[in-house]
């Protein structure tokens, strides 16, 4: 029963090898979907290209439905999965800062790595920027510590916070995603086409 490495079904020595293999597929899928182009990514925020929305939401739904299906069928134990912890204000403030960085620089860290791999100089500069940002955070850690360590709510899920049934939540979330795909196509047809 999964997860395989934590439960000792695959030995720990395989960890790094599997990491590289997973990374290769991750990079390939992102690049082939066009995520190595900052102008395609930024299209979401100006309504001329909705690839980010479609890829991102489709991936979220497929992984969510798949996860709960595998849990239901007994292939994985969902309670053993690592749940990203919730530090309320860290998530909000960090997210807002990342959003500004996204629309200013046109990449997020994963997509910038893909763009570096195909020789985009702006992406190389962007990655250097990220490292400077990490450096600033680390040097001024005492300033950020209250929001970084504070408002900790545990490794909670939406089931705990909203008190909803996960299956109903996933069903409604899927409907919202499909609706957003339909709306995004309507908006894109209305907007002027941009070539890049």
């Amino acid at each position: 029963m999964g997860p395989l490495i934590p439960n000792g079904i695959i030995p720990h020595e395989w960890d790094s090898i599997i990491a590289i293999l997973i990374g290769i597929v991750f990079g390939f899928v992102l690049e082939a979907s066009g995520f190595s182009s900052s102008r395609k990514l930024a299209g979401l925020f100006y309504g001329y290209d909705f690839a980010v929305l479609k890829v991102f939401f489709t991936a979220a739904i497929v992984s969510l439905i798949g996860m709960y299906y595998m849990d239901y069928l007994g292939y994985v134990d969902i309670t053993q999965m690592y749940v990203h912890p919730t530090y309320l204000w860290g998530a909000i403030i960090g997210g807002i800062i990342m959003g500004v960085g996204f629309v200013a620089g046109g990449f997020c860290p994963g997509t910038s790595l893909c763009a570096v791999a195909i020789g985009k100089i702006d992406a190389i500069v962007y990655v250097i920027g990220i490292m400077i940002g990490v450096f600033i955070f680390s040097e001024l850690y005492f300033l950020f510590e209250p929001i970084y360590e504070g408002f900790f709510m545990g490794n909670i899920t939406l089931i705990d916070s909203l008190g909803v049934n996960p299956y109903w939540f996933i069903f409604i979330f899927t409907l919202i995603a499909i609706l957003s795909f339909v709306i995004s196509d309507i908006i894109r047809k209305r907007n002027k086409k941009i070539f890049y």
């Binding site: 997860p3 990374g23 290769i24 595998m70 309320l88 620089g105 046109g106 860290p109 893909c114 990490v134």
Partner: protein
């Protein structure tokens, strides 16, 4: 050669790419019990650079010291290997479709100098934000959403909400 130039901007259908990405996230959780990530590798790089240049400073720092141990280098982490894989995978995909070349991609309305300045500034902000939120679009938002993490959903909404809210101020760079 001609075929390559024609195909340069032909990308996968976004639903197909998204489906494969979803399967990959599922597979990653099934094997390792955790999700994907990207900014973690850059954090490890910064930690190991600082640890090499100024080891005492790194050990005394409250933040760097969390990621330094005597047994292994800060670069010997799952996320660094995964990031190396991302570079290889993107290189293969870009190579097969003829998209590899050195260039600065920017809107014809702006200079490449301006593009690079905004890329640097955007990178700095993203790096800072990703530390505050403990993860970026991959680690916090995408992988968090796969297990219904509340923090993952909040970070996702904050990133895209703020990007839409501030898009107006950066419109000249893109459209």
């Amino acid at each position: 050669m001609k075929n390559n130039q024609k195909n340069r901007h032909v990308y996968w259908n976004p639903y197909f790419g998204g489906f494969l990405l979803g399967i990959l996230i599922l597979f990653t959780f099934y094997i390792t019990g955790r999700g994907l990530g990207a900014s973690g590798a850059m954090k490890s790089s910064v930690v190991s650079i600082v640890d090499t240049v100024a080891p005492t400073h790194a050990e005394n720092s409250a933040y760097y010291s969390k990621f330094i141990s005597d047994e292994k280098s800060p670069m010997n982490t799952w996320l660094v290997f995964e990031a190396l894989g991302v570079l290889i995978g993107a290189f293969i995909s870009g190579g097969l479709t003829g998209r590899i070349n050195w260039r600065v991609q920017h809107s014809p309305k702006i200079t490449s100098k301006r593009r690079l300045a905004f890329a640097l500034g955007g990178g700095i902000l993203f790096g800072l934000g990703a530390q505050i939120a403990r993860g970026c679009t991959s680690g916090a938002a995408l992988s968090g959403m796969a297990v219904l993490s509340t923090g993952g959903f909040i970070t996702m909404l904050a990133i895209f909400g703020s990007a839409f809210a501030f898009a107006y101020f950066f419109r000249k760079n893109w459209i």
